[in-house]
């Protein structure tokens, strides 16, 4: 296994603080109330939002707010080795953390006794699929007209060959030292997702978090452009860094 960083350049040619190429698109599915699509590196993820809608059975609804339901799912052909369609424990946990990353942005009190469903389908997976999924899901929520305090943008930082890097690819995630996915509402400075797998000193933790937040800010800008493109047709619909 070769080194992952040579002369400051990563195996896919990026510098430490560079995002992978990405593409965001809003309004890609006809039936959904809101939808979005993201490509980030090899990730290809489509997200649909349905709701606010009635809750069945009714006793699961809440009188003063809506409930948010979220399903992150990988298509069987999305991975290197075929994945069975039934949801794995990993997918169940990621569904939960994605929901909890998005919910702080939603004005849940505006939709009492209803539910909002967020469905993420990973058509092709790469490192950072949960972050890419959050970034796209927030766009789908906006496309559905759900009231939000801010968009949520997500991006990981991590440690690879001793260097703190932004937006880990699959191989960097698997063979690197640490991975730290982060989501944030950039305008409010509120961090809504933080996970860490792997060892970081406190100094590295701080630098990683700073770098991840910088990546989120760039993706947030791209989210705004994708919405403008969808609703005002004034910006190009593809943003490749």
């Amino acid at each position: 296994m070769g080194k992952l960083i040579n002369d400051g350049i990563r195996v896919d040619g990026r510098r430490a603080d560079e995002l992978r190429p990405y593409r965001l698109e809003v309004g890609v599915l006809k039936n959904a109330d809101g939808s979005a699509y993201i490509e980030l590196g090899k990730n290809k993820i489509i997200v649909a939002v349905y709701g606010p809608k009635e809750v069945h059975p009714k006793h699961l609804s809440l009188p003063d707010r809506c409930i948010i339901r979220c399903r992150y799912h990988m298509s069987p052909f999305s991975t290197d080795v075929r994945k069975t369609p039934a949801p794995s424990r990993r997918e169940i946990e990621i569904s939960k953390v994605i929901r909890e990353a998005l919910e702080p942005a939603i004005l849940v009190g505006e939709y009492p006794r209803t539910a909002i469903d967020i469905f993420l389908e990973v058509l092709q997976s790469d490192g950072g699929s949960r972050c890419a999924g959050i970034t796209a899901a927030s766009l789908a929520l906006a496309d559905a007209g759900i009231s939000m305090y801010d968009l949520v943008a997500a991006c990981a930082a991590g440690k690879v060959d001793g260097t703190i890097v932004l937006d880990l690819s699959d191989v960097e995630d698997k063979e690197g030292e640490a991975d730290m996915p982060v989501a944030v509402m950039p305008n409010l400075g509120v961090i809504t997702l933080l996970q860490l797998d792997g060892i970081l000193t406190h100094e590295e933790f701080k630098r990683g978090l700073d770098l991840a937040l910088e990546g989120c800010r760039r993706l947030h800008e791209a989210q705004r452009k994708a919405l403008m493109e969808r609703y005002f047709k004034t910006a190009p619909n593809q943003e490749v860094e």
Partner: protein
């Protein structure tokens, strides 16, 4: 659940209106009775799959991915590779789809498309044997339905066929001691035929092709007939709680041959452009 909430009055009115239109040979979206909606096929959309295709049929959208693995054959067919077709109607595809294991609609969809491919002899499964009775190639074709707007069977079928036709898999070498080694080059699947399904809906006394969701919501019966390259029939499936007359079935069989040939040309053109 949805059914119980429908306005039955409105449903009957809509159906009456549609039957009136169809009697004049017209459809709500302006198509003639035997017209397909625009068909769009894109291959190689999933790089991690051995083959893939995304198909739109009007607003119906599906994506198929092929994964090739090596494993043991089924005990009763030691001299054949495996072919498994599995379709899921994702919850993001429609307000009525629900998360969970495939329901009977998705299972029927999978099995009808599977039979079309299997019975046509499209893939020569006997050529997928590596060491007889021990190791064969297993071809998994998984389909994710992304947006439901009627006629999932044909959209799924075209996606599966297109993905299989553009599949590349590593060449494998079986050494003398029966070890399997991957060679650097890739080869296509042994494809010998293009099965094409054509699905009809009966609404009142009219037979139409490629129904959309609105037409499906009032259709009485459905029939899918699949033909092979030389126009012969290789698979069929009547669906829904209505019947068909002998004449309607014979008409559908003839039409499936003609329309099937048109769509076969579309698929060939897309696949051919991939090389």
């Amino acid at each position: 659940m949805a059914a119980a909430k429908k306005s039955f009055v409105m449903e009957h009115l809509r159906k009456a209106h549609m039957i009136e239109l169809l009697a004049k040979g017209k459809r709500l979206d302006g198509r003639a009775l035997l017209d397909y909606r625009p068909i769009d096929i894109k291959c190689n959309v999933i790089q991690k799959a051995n083959g893939s295709a995304q198909v739109s049929l009007g607003n119906t959208q599906v994506i198929a991915g092929v994964k090739i693995e090596v494993g043991p054959p089924f005990p009763d067919t030691p001299d054949k590779g495996l072919l498994v077709v599995n379709a899921e109607i994702l919850p993001l595809a429609s307000p009525y789809a629900e998360p969970g294991p495939p329901d009977e609609e998705a299972i029927e969809l999978s099995r009808v498309v599977d039979r079309g491919v299997r019975e046509s002899g499209m893939i020569d499964l006997s050529k997928l044997v590596l060491t007889p009775g021990q190791k064969v190639r297993a071809v998994f074709v998984d389909v994710s339905v992304l947006n439901v707007d009627g006629n999932l069977i044909d959209a799924t079928s075209y996606a599966v066929v297109s993905a299989l036709m553009t599949t590349k898999m590593p060449e494998l070498e079986v050494s003398e001691n029966l070890q399997i080694k991957e060679k650097p080059n890739t080869i296509p699947l042994p494809v010998s035929n293009i099965p094409v399904s054509v699905t009809f809906a009966r609404i009142g006394e009219s037979l139409i092709i490629d129904p959309d969701s609105e037409e499906e919501s009032v259709m009485d019966a459905r029939i899918t007939l699949t033909t092979v390259d030389d126009g012969h029939l290789c698979a069929g499936q009547k669906g829904l709680a209505g019947g068909l007359t002998y004449e309607q079935i014979m008409f559908a069989a003839e039409t499936a041959k003609i329309k099937g040939q048109e769509i076969r040309e579309i698929i060939k053109k897309v696949v051919g452009s991939i090389g």
